[in-house]
Amino acid sequence: MSVKTALAEIPRTIWTSIFRHSLPSSELGQAQTSFTNFFLHVHPVKVNRHTLKATYTLGLGLISFFLFLILTVTGVLLMFYYVPSTTQAYDRMLDLRGSVAFGTFLRNMHRWGAHGMVIAVFLHMCRVFLTGSYKRPREFNWVIGVFLLLLTLFGSFTGYLLPWDQLAFWAITVGTAIAGYAPVVGEKMRFLLLGDNTVGQEALLRFYVLHVVVIPLAITLLVAIHFWRIRKDGGLSRPAEADMAPGTEALSVQVMAAPIELKPAEGKQSFGLMGLVRGPFTKVGNTPENTVFSWPNLLMAELFVFILTVAAILVISLLFHAPLEEPVNAMHPPNPAKAPWYFLGLQELVSYSAFWGGVGIPGIEVAILMLVPYLDRKPGGVGRWFAKERLLANTLFVSFTLLNVILIIIGTLFRGPNWEFVSPW
């Protein structure tokens, strides 16, 4: 081959070395595209029609993930301007608002994105519970999800301090005080978190490191496992009948539970690599199909959720500015000093009993959340909203979440100076 042809073909060869396939025109192409692309191979080649039903998932998991991406991008850009120092942080905020290009907008996006992610992750958890999706074999993925919820809250909480204004300072003072109510270890924990007895330079630095390194890394890792487990557990949860091709009879799907016996590798292997994959989605058996290709169906759905999320955050960031209150004045607490809004339910409880509100009840709630899939083991009602079989579980869950939401609303809107009841109207 002449050098001339090689030179002439450089653009094409580079392109094809990166993208091995042209835009898919056949089913084979669609399969290969998903399979050979690093980013797309997170997806299965084919995906169940039920998974694509917008009314089933409401796209909440994806929204949470995309918000995390938006937070990462805006967060990294903000990091270029931020200094975690008590003498400089607030000035940097003023610079962001005053003279940094797009500074206000970046901060707005980051702020509202963070609040949005707390809400989205919480609603995602509600969706998963109310559709019974945590049941076998997805128990462990639920537990990872609970950890992700806690990490999201903690990430938002650590970020709250960084502007170093009155709102930040007192919210963290109150929030960490709640942590200090734990018996025996409470005070030590608080000291470890703050690096001091009060919120100060050490606390700012610790929160900064947690916020920009530790928590994002942990979330990334857990999200990866979360996604991987979805694949390994056979895609999103769905009712048994969703696996039937339209018009076919209900077939026994026992094949799903039957383990594939692996013979020791001797002689010729008669199955492809895919055949080794254990679990319910193996295509070895003649499982009836009700699937469509991920390319373009799943991708379009994801793009749709992505664009909607971005558009929502952009519009909100355009309309509302992230708050920036007075510079920190440790001698002048606002009355009432309130924790970040998602902890106001706890603060409301703390106003009745420090231990039970700060440690007891939230501890029990988290423990129950983690144990839910191991306590509720009846297989019925998976893949449908508010399944009749799950009336008790759903009722309990809804009452508990409603209770927490009501406490948060009371703490946010109905509490005035000295934590006395006030009417917001």
Binding site: T87, L94, R97, A311, P327
Partner: protein, 599 residues
Amino acid sequence: MRLALAIASLVVLLVHGIVFYDQFFHKWERYQNAYFDQARTQARNDEERADLASRSPRIEQIMVTQFGETRVDRCTTCHIASDDPRFAGLGHPLKTHPYSAALGDTQVNGKWERRHKFNDFGCTVCHEGQGRGLTDHYAHGEDHYWPDPLLGYITQEPWRKDFVKHLKGKDYMQAACAQCHTEEKFAGTPIVARGRQLFFENNCYGCHRIEGISDGTLGPELTEAGKKFKVDYLWESIADPRANLASSFMPKFKLNDDDVKALVIFLKSRHGINLTETQLAQFRSRLHPAAVVESTPSPTSTDLVSRGKQLIQDRACGACHKIGEKDGAIAPDLSFEGLMKDDQWVLDHFKNPRSRMPDSIMPGFRFVETDFQAMTAYLISLKTPPATATPAETYKALCQRCHGEKGDGLGPVATYIDPAPRDLTKAAFMNSKPRERFVESIKQGVHGTSMPSWTKVLNDTQVDGLLTYVETTFTKDKRRALKPRNVPAQNPVTASKESIARGEEIFLARCTGCHGRKADGKGPNSLDIVPRPRNLRNSPFVSSIADQRLIESILYGVQGTAMPPWIDYGLSQKEAGDLVHFIRSLTQASARPQLRAGR
């Protein structure tokens, strides 16, 4: 779905458009371009024109590192002509900052030369505002979270409407001048000097500490008042002390608007540090604070009384008290103190007012012992009561200041007196006590309260006449025969630790709602009760009351007050006796028990 996707994408594009527009078309660029255009037309030579042509809009900033914390002032980004004398006639923001001899600017060969060069001082050190901001809303400090809006120019949205009109004007900038020009008689800051004078004239120094100036401990420290508080808060705290904190006992002084303004400007100038001092100088001044109170009369004056008189005058006791003609309308009348108190009482009270009057708001001044002695000597020398012919005149001259014109206990100073003066119109109370009790209260006074002993002022006939006047004018209701009450003359229980413990048990169960867990009269219900529940830790009061009267008040209640007859709730004489032992144990220095609940 595709339509929705298209709409959403359009929204994303649109928002980007708006954000980019905002980012690249700033108001300040327009100001700067206008400035360049104007300057070009006025340019006199090619050099100037070339210089202007090479300039393009950019953020201008002045970094000031010499005064306090580093300041970044970007004000000149909009106010770009502030140092260009040709723009004196234009409107803001393209206007030359005025030159003024009062600011120290000088004219050399017809050209003004600034004393405070902007490159050295920046802008916010004098004007305040937010130097980093680039929009007028933030830069001028209109955002109500910003602690220092432009002094005298910007008032923030939540400020009280009735104060806002007082809070504008150039005068306020004197507070900024005085951050560096701390000399008391500095020509440029007459209002600050006036404020400082008022600070002493009104005895503010008695309660408030300002480092290097005063040493009071009763009120909040004001060393950094100018840094911590906005002018509206300072104004409110002086003009309406209880507006912000209902339980504040700061008196409302007799001040006109100009006085309040001078005080606000004086306080606004207190930043804790003098910006012109080096850190070493600041450290030194802290090691050797300035004299606490000036104008101490010469020690050669051996006449204690005249020296005391001078001291009382210099130290502004009249800001609260009435002494002769001067009446601060806050604290008791001292015009004939010598007839009502002895010198030991006055001296003790000077040293620690709450040792004699447990709920007094009088600050404990940290004067030297000889000053106290001189002041005491002077007060004790005041022995001339006002001459009064009729009981009505007597009431007006002696009683009205506390008990009020209508006898309702709401005299002009009543707000500041705790326990409050008795409401003489309350027949239920007035008629439930024997007349002798009132005669005794007038003649002997009521210990631990502001009711003094009038026995050296009024003779028996006058006391009797006065009481009759009160009964007929205020109480009005005819006195009826008192029902006999079964009250033991002595405490039926012998004092013992067990009795005190039983008393505490009963107290915690029945009394804390009003009298409070500390028995200081500040229970949760106390705020709604008039007259306020007794402070049972008021040692002079409690020890002056006999067991019999305490037991009677507990068992049969105090009519005309919220104290109920506990005998109706099944309290026995013995239990009342236990309670009395407990109450007395609170004020006896020895064996004072720690209240379990109060811990």
